[in-house]
Amino acid sequence: MQPTSKTHAVHPEVHHHEEPGFLQKYVFSTDHKIIGIQYGVTALMFLFIGYSLMAMMRWQMAYPGKPLPIVGGLLERILGDEAAGGVMSGNLYNAFGAMHGTIMVFLAIVPLAFAAFGNFVVPLQIGAPDMAYPRINMVSYQCYVVGGIIMLVSFFIPGGAAQAGWTSYVPLATVIATTGQTFWIVGMIFLITSSLLGAVNFLGTIIQLRAPGMTWMRLPFFVWAQFVTAFLLLLAFPPLEAAAVMQLMDKVAGTSFFYPTGLVVTGKLAAVSGGGSPLLWQHLFWFLGHPEVYVLILPAMGIVCEVLCNNTRKPIWGYRSLVYSVLAIGFLSMIVWAHHMYLTGMGTAISTFFQTTTMIISIPSVIILSVFFISLWGGSIRFNTPMLFALAFLPMFGIGGLTGLPLGFNFSDIALHDTYYVIAHFHYVVAPGTIFGLFAGIYYWFPKATGRMMNEFWGRVHFWLSLIFMNLVFQPMFAQGMAGMLRRMSDGGAYYSVRTNPGIPGALSDSIIYSNVTISHAAWALGLAQIPFIINFFWSMKNGQKIASDNPWEATTLEWQTPTPPPHGNFAKPIAVHRGPYEYSVPGHALDFVPQSEA
């Protein structure tokens, strides 16, 4: 190997180093592929933890007041009073609920969809040697880990974890006598910092490091999706960071940013200056909160596009529509946030404004979904595991999106706000929506990262079981919500059941309450259905079928033009792009695909 010279641009070969030690290579790596895998593995762990919290909550909902089997004793030993006799207390239920949301959104889905897939795939797909700021990339992962540890540690401190929902509404959040809320805020500050650094990295990389010939309109849609996602994170997270600092000050420094004058807490006037506004928190939270949900869905849409084109062997129909739609979604998502606040007493003019923008934003979402559906027409469809997940994404996201419409209208939201209908809506979008997209991505890019395919049979088992049980879990929740069953009730609504409290207004019927049992069983079965996936994932790394070429899916995008796994620096020599991202079945070519780099 030649020693490096000062003018690196002249020598195209891979930079010569001493072979880095284990720590440098795997723990303190600045290579985007390693960091992507680090994010991916950590995020999947948090996905599992978040699921476990919910699995325990579902027991309480199905069988309120009964001790938890298997884990009840363990909980009692670790958490003491809140799990006395193995029965989940109301406070513990709230803590699990708040942390389920926080962990799933900020520690599992966003890191997996944006940071893990983005880090691994985006530089490869644009023909870059790495991300633009590799050391910042490493720091952003480390901030994420620190934030995650803080969140997990909060379970074990006196008073327990945060209990005021993932939305941490004030004054409840600051009034609850647990330091868990403080941990939550500090953890959020680390997570927000991690996301901001990541966003800067993605945007800088996509803007500056596209290979020669990779024009904006030749970018794979996955890159466009990540680009818009990064912008949303960049601009929407800072107000939440500011709000988190203010809530922290309310909690530890006695300020009154969010304490209104005259607040009475447990019978006594709160010893604060007052003059603050609880609604201010809600505005700042949802200013992030709404773009955040687009952060959750856009990367999955990007993955679905890649997988669909590859497995229909035809270009996407309406590439430009996709691009303009995703840009429109990005822009509009920043001005719809108060549709989460219709019931806070805002006037009709302002709620009409937000209702209008909310309705308008459904249009580009529908366009994107329609583009995907239309692209199937006339395709030569290969029903492999990634394709099954990508195909299922379409109707599942469709259901999730359409059920959002009654929530977006302020008058119908009056009945549905804070009910199980909302839970069903957003879980449909994120669970059989985004997570299915992410599963598709894992099965699709696994061979590029490891050189082996995941087992196809068990992939299909995983798919069908997940699809069936996801629907069994979330479909009944629409009915529950429309019947008036509210969110965050630790007894699963038993207090309001016709059986226990017949005269109570809004009493819930037996079948609505019984749905809790079926939903819980389906949820546990859903968890069991992931076991083949987990085994498949780890087993295939060492024993999966080795791929015959670097491009086992016969795909057109640049990541398949690298060696497998891609070395440090990705491309042996600088790569040039000559055509669009989805040139499948081009007439006159011997093969049914033409890579982007082919002249």
């Binding site: 800088g204 490091l209 940013f257």
Partner: protein, 270 residues
Amino acid sequence: MEIPYIVQPREDTGLYNAKVGIWLFLASEVMLFGALFSSYILLRVGAEVGTWPHGLLNIPIGTLNTIVLITSSVTVVLAWASLKMNRLGRFRLFQTGTVLLAMTFVVIKSFEYHDKFTHYEVVLKNSTSMTGHIEGSPMFWNLQKLNAGKIESFTFHPDAHQAGHPDNRAEAGETKGAHEAIKIATADITKLESYGPWHNTYLAIYFTLTGLHALHVIAGALVIGCILATSGAWWKRDPERLTNRVEVSGLFWHFVDLVWIFLFPVLYLL
């Protein structure tokens, strides 16, 4: 393959990587301070009529700090210009000036903060209330601390004009001792509170905004100082890269100045 455009700009964007990065970061900072400014507006507009304090901040000192920061913005850009003109000595001179001005700003700010932390509102059992300073200028005293420290009484210097009176713009609360000093017994006190962020929402948002801004000043000065300290070695090794770093840190510094340009009138004057 090496990462391109670290030093040389990319043709179509006209930018090198670090510059794109810092502008993106500054965009996020605009939203961060923007959220705090929005909070300020909301809290102020939402306050009961007559409760929003005026004249708690010293305007000549604030003006001085504004001039300090503006000057540091000029020295930072002149430092960069000097490097572009290959004048390393000039660069060092201007950049040292920047760091000194930054330190001056922080020192002045800490005096302002100290003045607030030693300023008190005391409410007596007979329902009278006064604002002023305590003999010896202790910080953060309250009733709990008095009882814990077994302090039975203290000397209090009431302000010339009592704060909270809406017709006392520009004078309230700042002059010491124009009234006679009086002795107050701890037993007579219902509430003793310093003018920290807990005292009212105006001070809460003031300390948050200026505190966050001061953190940015310190961070920026540290980065500029580090680049200055290592500039000799970098100038020899890769002068263009040094110039770019100076430019990028300068962009951050200008942003910090920009925030203050809005902070000063909003908090001190309006």
